[in-house]
């Protein structure tokens, strides 16, 4: 009963603090919207390549690639000048036959990557062309050979047909790939999203969890800190209220707040930004509710180590930022294994995992047992610590 009264009071206080409410509900949408704009712009990278002494066949292949512009330069110096004038992103020079030197501006890693890929593709395309040519001439000789072999076959037919049968298929098999290569067509199907799916779509599930975690952590920590510094906490503890009821009251109120926040973020990402959510909204709510409770317990715990609002802010780089790095926004697979292991002690990783599964693969809650289990472990452990921690202010 008292927990409900505390919950009601916390919500009442928050509802009167319009700026904080705006921070919780409007800020995430604004940030997501900005990120959407930024990452959408990033998906088309145009590069300019200056070439010196590159064969025209390679050059045309290179120029045919989308978003790549080729500028032919007579001398190396002219090409280098383009690079220093920031008009070219790379200079390609053929030093001797089939030996190329590429100088990248490398001021933008994504542009460098595009140049690398484009040049490789151009060389490959050029190679295929040359191959076709040789195959054509080769197939001509093969046909001639086949005629000879046929004659020989007739001659040696009585003795044995083994060599003949071995030779004939080899000639046909050589012709087959060149025919097929000409007719290759790739049809793209997207399991999640469409061809416009960008990095933004990938990080939305994690960002959703991050916002819930960040704001609940910060605001609840501040709220409890304020209770402690203004003396309302010790006054509260001078009533017969149970320590657990105080923690429960806070959990209830911030849990409700997190649900509203999640609903707003989900609606905004789905209807304003066109992010596809494969799984159920209910599952997303459940995960975010759990994460909010973990964040709350974390915030309350951390607030006991802070003596002012400013000290509470100091936990952001220590507690919040590392979680962002390890939550899956940056792929962890490529990291050293001991670095990867750090992620396992961070609650945001489990929430991010679960959200990813729900939003991109439509996994149901039943199959997210490990993630939910870990979040519950965090929740129970932190809550017990908090109830225990309040003993500092009252011994019973």
């Amino acid at each position: 009963m008292r927990a409900f009264a505390i919950c009601k009071r916390v919500l009442q206080e928050l509802l009167r603090d319009k700026r904080t409410l705006a921070l919780m509900f409007v800020a995430p949408v604004l940030i997501l919207f900005l990120m959407k704009l930024i990452f959408a712009a990033n998906s088309t990278t145009n590069v300019d390549i200056a070439t010196v002494g590159v064969p025209s066949s390679v050059r045309t292949e290179l120029n045919d690639i989308k978003h790549v512009a080729v500028h032919k330069k007579a001398t190396n110096r002219a090409a280098q000048k383009m690079l220093t004038d920031q008009k070219a992103d790379a200079v390609v020079r053929e030093t001797s036959t089939n030996h190329y030197t590429i100088i990248y501006a490398n001021t933008d890693a994504s542009k460098t990557a595009v140049v690398k890929q484009a040049f490789k593709a151009a060389l490959a395309a050029n190679g295929v062309k040359e191959l076709k040519q040789t195959v054509k001439t080769l197939s001509g000789t093969v046909q001639k050979q086949a005629v000879v072999i046929a004659k020989m076959q007739a001659a040696t037919a009585k003795a044995s047909g083994q060599t003949a049968t071995a030779a004939t298929p080899s000639s046909t098999s050589k012709q087959a790939p060149s025919k097929k290569a000409a007719t290759v067509k790739i049809k793209n199907h997207y399991h999640y999203g469409d061809k416009d799916t960008s990095f933004f779509d990938k990080i939305v599930p994690i960002l959703m969890g991050f916002f819930v975690f960040f704001f609940v952590f910060l605001i609840s920590g501040m709220a409890l800190l304020k209770e402690r510094t203004t003396g309302t906490l010790s006054r509260l503890l001078a009533t017969p209220v149970r320590r657990g009821e105080i923690v429960a009251g806070y959990m209830l109120s911030y849990g409700i707040l997190a649900l509203v926040q999640t609903a707003i973020i989900v609606l905004a990402t789905v209807y304003m930004m066109g992010v596809e959510i494969v799984g159920s909204l209910l599952a997303i709510m459940v995960i975010n509710f759990l994460l909010a409770l973990v964040a709350l317990a974390f915030g309350i715990l951390m607030s006991t180590f802070a003596s002012s609002e400013f000290q509470m802010m100091q936990f952001i780089p220590i507690v919040v930022i590392p979680q962002v790095f390890f939550s899956g926004i940056i792929p962890l697979d490529s990291l050293a294994s001991w670095v990867q292991n750090i992620a396992y002690i961070l609650p945001l990783k489990y929430a991010g995992d679960a959200m990813n599964q729900i939003i991109m693969y439509g996994t149901s809650l039943i199959h997210l047992g490990p993630q939910i289990g870990m979040l519950l472990v965090f929740l129970v452990a932190l809550t017990l610590l908090n109830v225990r921690g309040l003993r500092r202010y009252r011994k019973v």
Binding site: R9, T230, G231, S234, L236, A238, P240, K395, V396
Partner: protein, 241 residues
């Protein structure tokens, strides 16, 4: 006399190596106002916290309403007012009172009546629906006292209730404390203001964690051969050094 409301016997309290209270004896009977005076750092607040059971005594025993401390349930029968006002600024006076009434476990059907009663006692009835952030310092202090009075406590423990309050209001609060006393309730009050100590039934003089004297103000003045409690205080403090 009847059973004491508050009884502290040989109470000792240490924080680490520092002894804050030693061999402290204090009793509050129904219908008594007990003053606890002493310089800053003498251990008054610690004594109060121990009397509430928020801190556990390292030695001796303390009982409130016949129940050994620390005990959570008994807190509902104590009216406590801390040094700081400790109010929720963004809530109105009524909402503050209602919240703490719920925390104290005041019955739901009697809640409105209880809130109106304590508000009338501290003369805040008209301002009850204003937000506390708009209250003056004196109003906040009065609201804080009203919260302590919620739920008809059998004993009031007040930590410096009259700090920063103008003389007229102070008189009013003391008049109210005397009414409470008359209704059979006990009051333990800490104060810095020595002429307030004259108004109490018994004064406990706390110096460096020890009760130096515990008697009626008049008896103390006679004992020390001085005209006021303030002089008693100064003399006792001088003797200590």
């Amino acid at each position: 006399m009847t059973e004491p409301l508050l009884e502290m016997k040989h109470v000792e309290k240490r924080f680490g190596k520092q002894t804050v209270l030693q061999d402290m004896n204090l009793t509050v009977y129904p219908g008594q106002i007990i003053g606890l005076i002493g310089p800053s750092g003498a251990g008054k607040s610690t004594a109060i916290k121990t009397a509430l059971g928020m801190e556990v005594a390292d030695g001796g025993e303390s009982k409130v309403l016949g129940i050994h401390l620390p005990n959570r349930e008994v807190l509902g029968r104590i009216g406590y007012m801390a040094q700081s006002d400790a109010l929720y600024d963004s809530l109105s006076g009524r909402e503050n009172l209602k919240f703490f009434a719920q925390m104290k476990g005041v019955a739901k059907d009697g809640m409105t009546a209880a809130i109106n009663h304590v508000a009338a006692v501290v003369d805040l009835t008209e301002d009850l629906d204003k937000r506390v952030s708009g209250y003056s310092g004196g109003m906040q202090r009065r609201l804080s006292l009203a919260i302590a009075l919620l739920g008809n406590p059998e004993i009031l423990i007040l930590d410096e209730p009259t700090v920063g309050i103008d003389p007229a209001l102070r008189r009013k609060i003391w008049a109210e404390l005397n009414n409470i006393k008359a209704s059979g309730c006990g009051v333990l009050i800490t104060t810095h203001v020595m002429d307030e100590a004259e108004l109490t039934d018994r004064v406990a003089l706390l110096l460096a964690g020890k009760i130096m004297a515990f008697d009626a103000p008049k008896a103390l003045e006679e004992q020390y051969g001085v005209p006021t409690v303030e002089d008693v205080f100064l003399k006792a403090e001088g003797a200590e050094e």
